[in-house]
Amino acid sequence: MENLDTIIQILDSTIRLATPLLFACLAGLFSERAGVFDIGLEGKMLAAAFMAASVAAVTGNVWLGMFAGIGISLILALIHGLASITFRGDQLISGVAINFLAAGLTVVVGQSWFRLGGRTPALSGEGRFGQIDLPFADALRDVPLLGPIYSDLLSGHTFLAYIALLAVPASWFVLYRTRFGLRLRAVGENPGAVDTAGISVVKLRFSAVIICGVLCGLAGAYLSTGHGAGFGKDMTAGRGFIALAALIFAKWRPWQALGTCMLFGLLQAVAIRYQSINLGEFTVPVQFMDALPYILTVVILAGFVGKAIPPKAGGEAYVKER
């Protein structure tokens, strides 16, 4: 019974840790499936986390905070779109620039607004996303096995965590069951064909980048107002890059993205729960657990476990034939 409790606690922590990864991973999925590589996920998340926490701290309303976070993330996404779609600049360089911009601006602006060294004031009450208890969570708690799973594991997360989980089937539906999704995937594989069919490549790519901006905004808002309670310098701590790794691991598909994000979240949760794991003869150090997402990604990229084939036209600006 105690083991079950421990497992549920770890899985509960997994969901909390996987949520920002999942948002960012889906954000990258839309953008990259449309042929726009985006390593600026980290920067967009960071800026969104900052704006969400700042606005929530000032107004005391977490919803306004969330929309402000999405807003700033959209602005950065559009800058990326402008640079890499309209002006056909290098997508990687534009992404790196966004990361630097966000890392620097959040601290500078935060310092001038709040005078707390780039931190925002701690949020409380209405300034944060509260935990949502699913219906009957309390009543079902005593049911063996399923009770704890329902009331402790599935219930009691923040609004955004549920949105992240719902975003997975929604993304799948949009990408694979709608005309828009078909065109979006096509524009990442063969923009020339899409263009020949009389559909605007630029417009499609911009819509993908906008969806990416919204999802990154949610990821950032979750970090500072859902999971945490306030913004701190560099609080994304590389999660945008782990999300990119998850995207490659998932081979650019939504359901697999859910799986990988949960796996990476689980690795983090286990690393947090156990500093080092004893496997009889030898000990697995916590550093290894932290590095595992990257190691797994390298293994995938090296082609040991299936092949990760990126969208064919990814990373290239589309130049209309003249």
């Binding site: 060294g117 931190r119 701690a122 945490g228």
Partner: protein, 329 residues
Amino acid sequence: MTMMRSLLGAAAAMALSTVAAVADPAVIFDLGGKFDKSFNEAAFNGAERWAEETGGSYREVEIQSEAQREQALRRFAESGSNPIVVTGFAYASALEAVAPDFPDTSFAIVDMVVDQPNVQSIVFNEHEGSYLVGMLAAMASESGTVGFVGGMDIPLISKFACGYAQGVRAVNPDATIIQNMTGTTPSAWNDPVRGQELTRAQISQGADVVFHAAGGTGVGVLQAAADEGILGIGVDSNQNFMHPGSVLTSMLKRVDVAVYNVFSAEGALPSGITVMGLAEEGVGYALDDNNASLVSAEMQTAVDAARLQIIAGDISVHDYMSDESCPVN
């Protein structure tokens, strides 16, 4: 004068600094940043206090990466700042390299010993202060399980953990102590989300008092403690105000006093090691309006008695750094 100095360049500036009657002191903060509400902020407060009282001015810089340590030190020394305080053990190798090049400049390093004729090494007996808050934690705990969240996994932080564990065991020999370190890189000082998650993991294992020695990461630790309705213990600066009623106490490490003393020193700093322990009031525990209701008179009496016994030498608290091991865990 200042214009001339900047024109004259490095070598001349050095010569000038020895002549100039009043050279501005300087402080260089560590990677946690000067507003970490903890270690670096304490140093900053000491410098501010000095500036306020004397009306003097000082120079400061927050470094952004490991590579800037030596660079920042050298820059300040070249531009004639004297004395120069560096906060943090990680400056040791940089200071080791820079100090001999500026024999007329006094340096002070907090938390580490650098054996140079012009360096004052200021070390704190963190294990003694941690022992006291460990006692408080054990007395406040109802579950008999207490937690510790460290920042970067280094001997200095183990020193906090070890002193804390000894204090807990002194009150409750059967107590369970859950210890976690946030990470092994300097970013472990600044990851509140991870601090929060670590704390929640400890709470789910039964901890109802959690002590952090994790710089900026500790903001998340105290947040999680307040959210879950348990008690947190702050570190370095007095952090009781952050969540009134949810912070049992703070292990004070008077880096501010150390910086203030260095800045106020007349003439060259005495070199060698300055130890700031309980007796020197360099470490201690914080009691103010925010936690008055949490610390009962009994608890206070017990801790104050232990404090006097440690100063008198009747209780000896093992220092982890003396042999890299801890008798209790």
